[in-house]
């Protein structure tokens, strides 16, 4: 089970901030999230959205072990 976190406008759009999803890869996770909420699926792949796996930015594909934390990060605003 991956622990999925959404931040900023992505959380507002989805209506949730944290959810557990069973997925063996980032691609599979994206497909599951997009199937449940197509608008969110599109937003997660939108410009400037980064993905962190276990708090490290990942570009491209990643396999997801059990208890992996996956965060979708919209463009950062600064403090």
């Amino acid at each position: 089970m991956a622990r999925v976190l959404l931040f900023g406008r992505l959380a507002d759009q989805a209506g949730w901030r944290e959810r557990s999803v069973e997925a063996a890869s980032l691609a599979a996770l994206r497909d599951l999230l997009a199937a449940a909420d197509p608008d969110l699926g599109e937003a997660l792949g939108g410009p400037g959205v980064q993905v962190a796996v276990d708090k490290a930015i990942v570009r491209g594909e990643a396999t997801l072990a059990a208890a992996t934390e996956v965060a979708f990060l919209p463009p950062m605003s600064g403090g």
Binding site: L5, F7, D12, A52, K55, P74, M76, S77, G78, G79
Partner: protein, 151 residues
């Protein structure tokens, strides 16, 4: 989770003066302490409330990595960064940055450098709750220009 004692994210209001007192205490070889306090503006009665979201463990680690680079670049003796998260009322402090160095040029430049990065590139997500509703905001053109001065 790694703990970064020079860096705090806090959902509670904090007192910049108390932080400065602690930071200045007991220094025999530090000639210069520069500091900066960012305050939430009321924006002329618009009663805007600022809301800042961080990713604990990610945001503080990113700040620590950048701050350690700044420490080496400017030969700092020390630094202290405190950043509010959550809902922030007008007049409250959003951020406190202090830098200690042998001489003032390094202390000023490092503080300025850290602030430019924190305001434009640090992993926060910022929402304004204003009279016309909520909106997520991104760095201003000025913030980007300020940060690019150091590239």
């Amino acid at each position: 989770m790694t703990v970064f004692p020079s860096i705090s994210l806090t959902a509670q209001p904090f007192e910049p003066g108390a932080l400065l007192t602690t930071f200045c205490a007991g220094r025999a070889e530090t000639g210069a302490v520069a500091s900066f306090v960012g305050l939430a503006r009321a924006e002329r009665g618009q009663t805007t409330v600022l809301e800042l979201e961080a990713y604990p463990g990610f945001t503080d680690a990113a700040i620590a990595q950048f701050a350690e680079e700044a420490k080496a670049r400017f030969a700092l003796h020390d630094y202290r960064i405190v950043h509010r998260i959550g809902r922030i009322a007008p007049g409250e402090a959003i951020v406190f940055v202090a830098t200690a160095a042998g001489h003032r040029r390094a202390a000023f430049e490092a503080c300025d450098f850290l602030m430019d990065w924190l305001k434009s590139r640090a992993p926060f997500w910022k929402k304004e709750h204003g009279p016309d509703g909520d909106r997520w905001i991104e760095p201003t053109a000025q913030d980007r220009t300020d940060a690019e001065r150091w590239d």
